[in-house]
Symmetry: C2
Subunit: 340 residues, 2 copies
């Protein structure tokens, strides 16, 4: 089976290749009658533009890139990524734009991927995840003039448009909620403290605690692995003045934390309250169900895609904007602290 080209259509329709091109691209220069004839022939032959030829001609690559920076063993556990992708897709498919995925080991590899994508004309723009402090990716993308939308920020994104979750506000909500339940000794299990959103949340946490006159909250670091996040919770709970509420920065670590707490014989929420950032089905699968901060991740993906298109087109609409705020969903894992 041979893919039809514009020349095939031209032959069949009895016109020149230019005329076909004009007709197919809604360009002036052909009569309405010819245009219809050409379109009919094209449909009949099942013609579709050769993406490489289009791209070569100086047009778009017709795809955007998403580099996922995570160790292979953790991919999959986190629902976030797939939800984001599904949101991106909803916009991409409407513009019949492809999505190029690449799993990378670290920031250096991610940057190399951007350079390669740029040099090979593989993508028209990229979505950047997990912004860090002084993130080197920003400068590289600016230098390359590769359109990009950062999910995270708004600080530290340079000239790149970003869509930022309102992390400080989310954290504030949580603390107010926990304080209202009578909690005073708070802790949180944080991932990489370089991450912009972790920084924002941590700052807010300390700030609100100070304002409310609560003791200084405790921070424990943990990567996203099973063992590490379990260990983090275990350390917190083994402490003599253990916290009465723990905030987790991902659903995954929270669920792990819950298991550890139950294992250690603590009653949740009577003796310990748990809250997770990033609601997902995971939070509803465990018992008690986890109180979580939810936000519409597919929606954010779609918004990011729209912004990226705007940035690629160079038109308006590519300004940084906040994402919809977090919604606090109280569930069974939080309650008043009661000694038994």
């Amino acid at each position: 089976m041979k893919r039809p080209t514009i020349a095939d259509i031209a032959d069949r329709a009895g016109v020149s290749r230019s005329a076909v091109s004009f007709a197919l691209n809604d360009q002036p220069g052909v009569s309405e009658e010819t245009r219809q004839r050409v379109l009919a022939v094209a449909a009949e032959l099942g013609w579709r533009p050769h993406s490489a030829a289009r791209a070569l001609r100086g047009g778009r690559a017709g795809a955007i890139g998403l580099a996922l920076q995570r160790p292979a063993r953790l991919l999959g556990a986190e629902p976030f990524t797939m939800e984001l992708i599904s949101g991106l897709e909803s916009e991409l498919s409407a513009r019949s734009c492809g999505l190029n995925l690449q799993v990378v080991e670290d920031t250096e590899a991610e940057i190399a991927t951007y350079r390669r994508w740029w040099a090979e004309h593989r993508v028209d723009g990229v979505i950047v995840l997990n912004l860090r402090d002084a993130d080197p990716r920003v400068g590289v993308l600016e230098d390359l003039h590769l359109p990009a939308v950062v999910i995270g920020g708004p600080a530290g994104t340079g000239s790149l448009p970003s869509i930022w979750s309102q992390d400080a506000a989310g954290m504030t909500d949580v603390v107010e909620y926990l304080a209202a339940l009578g909690h005073r000794r708070l802790a949180h299990v944080a991932g990489d403290p370089d991450m912009r959103h972790i920084v924002d949340r941590t700052t807010a946490l300390h700030e609100v605690c100070r304002l409310r006159g609560l003791p200084e909250p405790v921070t424990v670091r943990a990567d996203y692995s099973d063992e590490d996040s379990a260990q983090a919770t275990r350390r917190l709970l083994a402490s003599p003045d253990r916290p009465t509420a723990i905030i987790y920065h991902t659903d995954l670590t929270a669920v792990t934390g819950l298991e550890v707490a139950l294992e250690m014989g603590l009653s949740v929420p009577d003796e310990l309250s748990l809250v997770a950032f990033n609601d997902s089905r995971l939070c509803r699968l465990v018992n008690p169900k986890l109180t979580a901060l939810a936000h519409d991740i597919p929606g954010r993906g779609a918004q990011a895609a729209r912004m990226l298109f705007a940035a690629i087109d160079g038109g308006p609409g590519a300004d940084s904007q906040p994402a919809e705020p977090y919604r606090l969903l109280p569930r069974g894992s939080t309650g008043k602290y009661r000694t038994r």
Copy 2:
């Protein structure tokens, strides 16, 4: 910043564009000295081949396609996909080949995507997931001569190479294990009964039960949604002669089932044993941990990628082959049946 082209290198190195091309592609026709000079200049300019130009010239698109057929709201919950992708990537990046992702609503849309990818020269081959009975995708891909590797089978893949999990063997292991624990009334919660692997497992289940003299196992259908799989388990457990062991075809439905069972006041595993196909972190997050059939999904992804490359190159190594068999991992959710 302008992307350098072969002409730029030719100018700088003082040779013709052809010579540059030969040098860069390890083609004979240039002296070793010239080759080195050209390579040096290319490296200096940071040259990379323009993927579109290569593809247009009749070469490869330099990417493979993966169409994910699932409703947006379920994407993300299943760890399977991302693990598979990470496995694919490990091979792809070694051959600096891209991965094109597309989320589609149904089989029809998936087929349309294949046709589009083919017509637009976007991918060199595709990975096909979730083979069904009389799957229409197979014929389409054969007609298009689009290289493809099916994950699933081995029956019903036509001329397409496949990599098939040994579902019947896995199911047999489970039943033997449960029978050894004294279980007699078995049930399973199955997804779409069209799916090839579900069919294979179901057939094996009935077969082994027959051989062992166990009563006919009960089948309950459930899609992958929260509510549906919960409802399925609830129905099973409400029955007067309820099963003493339930087998789930995904980790996700199993976890949901466990929650339902505990909610209904059943003790697991004393009154009910649960087994999940597809081990994942989910299975270890719940309490009791779920007995599961594990297999190396990233490994399978890598294997699929290698086979696809073989199919694309038209060389050997593109024959169907079994995946590594399932490993049964007994955990807390299975045990002898004890009435209390």
